[in-house]
Symmetry: C2
Subunit: 389 residues, 2 copies
Amino acid sequence: MSLADTARKLDALDPIAHCRDEFDLDPDVVYLNGNSLGALPRAVAPRLAEVVGQQWGRRLIRGWGEGWWGAPERLGDRLAPLVGSAPGQVVVGDSTSVNLFKALVAAIRLNPGRPELLVDAATFPTDGYIAASVARLTGVRVRPVPMPEAAAEVNEHTAVLLANHVDFRSGVLHDMGAITEAAHRAGALVVWDLCHSVGALPVELDAHQVDLAVGCTYKFLNGGPGAPAFLYVPQRFQDAFDQPLSGWCGHAEPFAMTPEYTPGAGVTRGRTGTPDILSMLALDAALDVWDKTSIAEVRAKGLRLTDFFLSCVDELLGDRVTVRTPRDTGRGNHVALSVPDAGQVMKELIAREVIGDYRPPDVLRFGFAPLYVRYADALTAVEVIAGVI
Amino acid sequence: MSLADTARKLDALDPIAHCRDEFDLDPDVVYLNGNSLGALPRAVAPRLAEVVGQQWGRRLIRGWGEGWWGAPERLGDRLAPLVGSAPGQVVVGDSTSVNLFKALVAAIRLNPGRPELLVDAATFPTDGYIAASVARLTGVRVRPVPMPEAAAEVNEHTAVLLANHVDFRSGVLHDMGAITEAAHRAGALVVWDLCHSVGALPVELDAHQVDLAVGCTYKFLNGGPGAPAFLYVPQRFQDAFDQPLSGWCGHAEPFAMTPEYTPGAGVTRGRTGTPDILSMLALDAALDVWDKTSIAEVRAKGLRLTDFFLSCVDELLGDRVTVRTPRDTGRGNHVALSVPDAGQVMKELIAREVIGDYRPPDVLRFGFAPLYVRYADALTAVEVIAGVI
């Protein structure tokens, strides 16, 4: 069967093909950058129009008592099933970097007397930058470790390991269960960054007894450019969770306006300033698509889709590219190909309406968001790549 | 002349009455809470529809190269004239609490070896909470001082004074020039919180040689619920500005993805995570009204409007209330009245569509946003208060 026939067949049989209808997509574009900025869910524009026109415009300040105030926890509970969390353990707000800062300082305070903060040596840069700042403020030292050696490197000096679930460059999926367990055996805590896994594959925070986690919502969760991030604090740590961005919205009684900070109950204490309602309720609308599918279905399609893309790469590109992403299931939903002059190649692909991204030094990165990417898109992309390189 | 005649005359002569047309207001509501959440500018809904439908929906990830990435600095430059700043010194993003954290840690690092952080004793709570957290992380101690004594209390032990420009309860306007000068004489730095002054009255950060400042955009700037805040870093401190939330968006070369953090040039180093584009561009639209007026005109009306409100209070409420706000020009654009059982009184006012807010223990707070509040609204409010208390 030709690749085109295979793509047609796979699309015809795709059990979540209907999810594509929930997105407002440009028919001329092959969009393979949903791992960086998810496409626009159709539900967002009308929801934002209502939030702006009716809630803000008509209810004004009263909106805070009519759903806005509790949005960070309510949205956290909507995200919870996607990260394997019981309700009441996820709060939405701020950026990933800001939540990482909260989580790392809190983790070091939960595990005092240990001098080291281990950081994934291949981490997305912001994690390393924030870790360095936290180390400087709290007096620990940062030690970078390659993720494959993280479980072995965690030791009695380790306060906290900061780990990425899926590597932002290569797409490698790290073993959350094994790494968390190894860290716990050494008496260390692990903070997981879920940016490249949430919405792409099942994440089991509670089952793996994860200590703390953060993630963003603008990639596979389609929350929009710069959509608010989230913070996971499991119940067992909530009473002791002591975070440094102790703004009034995390206070037990924010409107009592008392001079002393008393942290709120549960995950609420992870909040800082006034929640950003427009972006938060845009995300709320974006999450509606999860009522029509499940993360298990999305993961199944994600693997089939990237498998098919890799078959096309093998057949049409051969040794003109090097595949940097594992071919087994130890990967997320993006595929990294190394080529010479990758930055220029990506510019030419984008000019031909095949949108992925470039990551230094030589990586073409293609994200496959199963909610709206078709098998036919994967084939088209490889055909266009073949014409460019 | 009756109060009603006076109101009619003042409204007829109001040189910025036309600005009210820029807002989408409920004709049945007297909205005196624009000091907490500004009303909806008509420009916001169509702008957001365009940002969502066209920019996000059609340009997708390319939006970052087509205006999104630079929005924090571009919007900072739009705010700059409102706070008396030259261009290139204001950056928009995050919440006020998060920006305060950045500013306070950076200020303490700019002025090392001094053990005290002075904080306005009547501060809005989040400032005190964040100051306490910063003190704990940096090893300084917090000392609360009443703002009227701040200039006298700053001494050779003071690293930083955290001061509010307008008191959130009473509406008292503090003397930015005199306090900053006194602090500088003692070798201390001052971080000013502009939440209750920006957009209400002229702020002269450069002229007063202010060290650092933060403020929000959802009050008198009408940016919407939870709109992004801003941070001011004057040019003279930019090279040394060393802030703890050193996320990738403040990096000199964010897309080089280098493992070391190198802070960006100028005020860009005040950035942290991915900017929240939906809220940021809603604010952009909200700022358009400033093309039709000036902060001097707004301030002039603000004083006349609160004067008129106080005349109505004197005549119709007499000694049933106590005015907590100064009657001279040493005030912002809100008026605080003390009454017994203020919380219940405010509930009844809101039920009658006169919307102010309650601040413990006994304050009714009424904000007069000169862009859309009429003199007739001030009179109506006092008439309704008279019927309730």
